[in-house]
Symmetry: C2
């Protein structure tokens, strides 16, 4: 049995609670948050505290809180030499006060309130000061997921930038596609299956080999026609810039 | 029974042949291509021709050929007043010679050689000169897919631009993510589940509401740290440009 205290009440805290709740080998003995809110409908009142001084004993303390709060909350912990981890993609492990043994338990996924997460496919990035804690964190992660990686703080920060490209920026491309459809009275849902297939392809072939379209083909005629169809100046600028970027990246190979 | 002749030997021609082949209500009576190649391992030699003058009788002639070839091949057809359609996302229906009744049968999906396509989820965009041909093309599409749309040539050209954003440009974002991982010795596969989830979210919530990340949060500290991690100048430029574009699009709402 691994005992856990979860600090925080946001999406990650709630999703982790729900995932641990159904595991026999894990017990969330207590949750801390300033508002004293429940993380789960089945959580009992006596396992919630708003006072850091009343934190229960546990094998692992998980700070599922905002990056900015990691330092101050870890400074305020009333104990030493216990395992304290955060769940952040971008904060270094060193953001945690070194009075305790530090670690990172980072599930690399986008979490939405109210939307259930299938953790079995979520990669967990693990890091810790002590090797025995790496082993314990991997044991904890293994109850939820098959995908567990040793990732240093430096590697994690690289993954976080790459995630901005594959998640935030590609979602922005979807939003421009949506904008174009709305402006021209075409239902965006027609493009849903194409979006799913674009994402699925990545698992089978690397993105460089999956690159298609008028930019990489240097199909000037289609590019000009597309630019004439686009209404907004910002859409035209973006189309030009990305077309040039693709041609510059793949230019030598054509 | 709907009888079909397929002209062309590329990905779309092959995938359509395979999909029609298993339908009892459709018969591909003949295929035309300049090399005389089979589109399917079970196709018999006597159903292949390299001579447009020897085209068989059929209800629908499908030009699954490159945009540039639509005009010349349709000009060379040795008959009149039959239903001739193309499968292009960007060519107007009028690219087909009007000696025949024109139409469009456009499956909006990305096709890769050797990768089977589940047509049941592929949207078919239908257009035709004659209403009776619209009905026939919808009947043909309905044997393969549940998603059938009346789409004019103008709407189709809009969809084609939007598809460049959601497919080509988002794949380019994946390729930059891959590049960043390779440069820093982090396995790109860690990001695969995030990419799948990013695409899945779109079906449930519109992209504007799914937008997250440091740009929309105006998290200057994280943006600066990300820029310092990025090695290539083109990566830095792209990151800055897209961050500014996101902030400009959503700025008013913050």
């Amino acid at each position: 049995m691994i005992t856990v205290v979860i600090l925080g009440a946001g999406n990650v805290a709630q999703h982790l609670y729900a995932a641990f709740y159904i595991q026999k080998s894990i017990k969330v003995v207590q949750c801390f948050n300033r508002q004293g809110v429940k993380l789960h409908e089945n959580q009992t009142e006596d396992t919630i505290t708003t006072d850091l001084k009343k934190l229960a004993d546990a094998d692992i303390y998980i700070l599922a809180i905002s990056d900015d709060a990691i330092e101050s909350v870890s400074n305020a912990l009333p104990f030493k030499n216990r395992l304290v981890v955060h769940t952040s993609g971008s904060a270094p492990m060193q953001a945690i006060n070194n009075a305790n043994n530090r670690g990172v338990f980072y599930p690399l996924q986008t979490f939405s309130a109210g939307k259930e997460v299938n953790f079995s496919k979520v990669p967990f990035c693990i890091e810790a000061d002590l090797e025995k804690d790496v082993v314990l964190l991997k044991k904890l992660a293994a109850t939820l997921s098959q995908k567990i990686y040793d990732i240093s703080s430096e590697q994690r920060s690289v993954l976080h930038v790459a995630a901005v490209f594959v998640n935030n920026f590609s979602n922005y491309m979807f939003s421009i596609g949506n904008e174009i459809c709305i402006e021209n009275n075409v239902p965006f849902e027609i493009l849903h299956p194409l979006i799913q297939e674009t994402a699925k392809k990545i698992v089978e072939i690397e993105p460089d080999k999956a690159q298609t379209g008028p930019a990489i083909r240097k199909d000037t005629q289609t590019i000009e026609r597309h630019l004439s169809i686009l209404k907004g100046n910002s859409q035209k600028e973006l189309y030009k810039m990305l077309t040039e970027a693709i041609q510059s990246k793949y230019g030598k190979e054509l």
